[in-house]
Amino acid sequence: MSHDHDHDHGHNASAPMVDEISDFEALEIAVREICIEKGLFSAEDHRKFTEFAEHIGPTPAARMVAKAWLDPEYKKLVLTDAIAASKDVGVDYLNPTGFGTPSDYTDLRVLEDTPTVHHVVVCTLCSCYPRPILGFQPEWYRTPNYRRRIVRWPRQVLAEFGLTLPAEVDVRVEDSNQKCRFIVMPVRPAGTEGWTEDQLTEIVTRDCLIGVALPKPGVTSNLELPVHRAAKPAHH
């Protein structure tokens, strides 16, 4: 990244390696400090909200998909009223924190894949994402690189993620540019016959819910982290 401040680098840039803040970060701090001074919320409230937001993960959405695979009635609810369906997996979209107001728009839609249609989600204008049920966006989702290329060359970009779709599967890109937020419901993969809801939930990773991966038996994470065993393990 250059250090040219005339460009819109905002929240889409990688974290700078030097100690500098963007105009938007300065604005956020200024607004936050005014709110605290005015007593709208306390610094403690702000810390709690930040920690809350940072700890939301995609598990509730994964469970929503797993439940829908198993229960046709629940699937109908998911496809017609995803806000109501999210309550069943522990997310109150209208009051997600229980102590704050929703920070995002609340028209949640679930895009159902079929054996012949595969959905993938992007926000070309910024990085709109159903945060109350998926957590924060992965960094690549926010990059101009992903946003400008997935709409125009979706098959090539999906292939870069390791997802090569056969020609008989149509790709449908969803550009999330207004108040709707989207989750992809992939097709339940072969090899999961007789699985429980818990087992199915494990294979619906965040990338599957955005549409850049497909669920596979045995794959339960976007990233397999190496485990380095301690040379001197603690004994209790």
């Binding site: 709409v151 098959r155 790709v171 550009d175 999330s176 207004q178």
Partner: protein, 121 residues
């Protein structure tokens, strides 16, 4: 105190959600229905829009009538007294991008517009 009401939006959306808080404010039923063919108007946009340039002039089909809301071109300036219907429109990728491979002619892209951007084909 400031002249500007900065809590207006929070007050109308709390407990209902946004865009749900604007239900019934578009002044009537939606002009288009699912399956209608529409063209995206190439209107000037000054300062702010959420209507992507890559869709201007393209013809697609209404896939979902989503909700009522002020258009972002108004809402960005705090004007929330007039709402419009919103539509998710489905385009054939080959209608959007000249180089899109004919081998994948059934690939599609969906994105959303407020009613002002659509005209019947």
């Amino acid at each position: 105190m400031s002249q500007h009401d900065r809590t207006h939006h929070a007050r109308i959306a709390t407990g209902k959600g946004d865009p749900q808080c604007f239900a019934g404010t578009a002044g009537g039923p939606s002009k288009f229905k699912v399956g209608d063919r529409v063209r995206i108007k190439d209107m000037p946009d000054i300062f702010y829009t959420r209507c992507q340039v890559y869709t201007r002039g393209a013809v697609g089909e209404v896939a979902v009538v989503t909700h009522e809301s002020p258009a972002p071109e108004d809402e960005a300036w705090g004007h929330v007294d007039k709402s419009e219907w919103f539509y998710i429109v489905r385009f054939k990728q080959t209608d959007l991008w000249p180089e899109y491979p004919a081998a994948f002619a059934k690939d599609t892209l969906q994105t959303e517009f407020s009613e002002r951007w659509l005209e019947a084909v």
